[in-house]
Assembly symmetry: C2
Homo-oligomer: 240 residues x 2
């Protein structure tokens, strides 16, 4: 999949740090060794370690704090409350978000889900449905599918305990940090059940947001389909 070839030293060091992250050597929020320590233990100069950590920091895998150290990135310290959720109230208000769980069941992966999550077809999955509301108004109907094995402890009770903050739950309960996500956006009309769940008329235009989230090493761990009502909210995207 990757092209090994000759890699600059700093990339080898970056890979080495990533491997130790995958191995769970440092949990989210914990400090990694200082640049000097890493440099000494690896037998390279501090500047080289620095460049490796620079890249990890620019990918939000790690967070630097001057005078304190470098820490494994945590979902909770993301800028906004909602890491990947870029939905913003069009009038600029910052409403609280409420989570209502519709279901949380075990099932088997369909061909499509299996491909997305890079698991065998028919393997066990967890299938979650919920509605997210801003200020009492339903705004998002989410369906979330997880591979069952790494997420064994997931239950309706646990999700409610985290008030629907899924990524925070993954991180603190399963030790799984999401590092990257890919989204496909389309516009769709609300069909019967969806319209009912969101309390809108059938055919209401919705922003469909299909997302695959990846953990360290680009391993897909979550598939999600969000149907968003965008009458009072919009999805913000910065390009450069």
């Amino acid at each position: 999949m990757t092209t090994p070839k000759f890699q600059p030293l700093y990339r080898q060091i970056k890979a080495l740090i990533t491997d130790r992250l995958i191995a769970g050597e440092w949990v989210p929020g914990a400090p990694i060794p200082s640049e000097m320590d890493l440099a000494a233990s690896l037998g390279v100069s501090q500047g080289t370690v620095r460049k490796a950590i620079d890249e990890l920091a620019s990918e939000n895998i790690v967070v630097r704090r001057q005078g304190k150290g470098t820490f494994v990135a945590t979902y909770s310290e993301e800028r906004a409350k909602l890491r990947f959720l870029r939905l913003t109230a069009s009038d600029g208000s910052a409403e609280a978000l409420e989570n209502r769980l519709l279901s949380c069941e075990r099932g088997k992966a369909t061909a499509q889900i299996a491909r997305m999550l890079d698991v065998a077809r028919g393997s066990s999955i967890i299938d979650i449905s919920r509605v997210l509301s801003f200020a009492g108004t339903p705004v998002i109907l989410d369906r979330i599918v997880l591979p069952a094995a790494p997420f064994a402890g997931v239950s309706a009770e646990l999700i409610n305990e985290y008030s629907g903050s899924m990524y925070r739950m993954y991180e603190t309960r399963m030790g799984i940090s999401m590092v990257r996500a890919e989204e496909h956006l389309t516009a769709v009309g609300a069909d019967g059940p969806v319209a009912t769940a969101l309390g809108v008329a059938e055919g209401t235009p919705l922003l469909s947001n299909e997302r695959v989230a990846y953990t360290y090493g680009d391993k897909p761990m979550e598939w999600r389909l969000g149907l968003c009502l965008t009458t009072a909210h919009h999805y913000v995207n910065l390009l450069d």
Copy 2:
């Protein structure tokens, strides 16, 4: 607007290079002085200039080519044909894109447009409408608004000459490079005129894409509203 304060040397150098870009000292595609030359003329070390250029490169303002030099980024060398247009065929095919101009007129900025483009209300603007088609099927209805002064030469003929590649035209004809853009996405239903233009039924869900594009120094230069038919295409977004 910005906080001057004390800036690291490399940021001051970055600002200095940006200023010279704004001044038009180097046109898109032209090489900027080598790291050694800049370092010598500014009286700093090569590593410091390097860090300044690193940031400009990571913002796609400048492109490095090993063994050749560093060049002002050009729209034409963007990865895909369509720099900011992230619409992809759902079946993975890469269809050619056709551009049909509906209108290109002079007008006055409304309050909303004036705010978005940071110009005075009522100042002269250019108002363009067009339909983009993939493989003969209309997919996007675009409305593009530009401040008239910097884009004085824009005409229907000129746009057709560039087959609708607006950003390439801005760059080669007006010397204006877009560096950054902010998009707001929502789902809407096609109203009468829109439905006609795209050849779909009224009420068909469309992905509404409102975009402001910025040139050097974060100056807004283009407002755009794209209404996209997403039955066979989707908008791709990578998060990290």
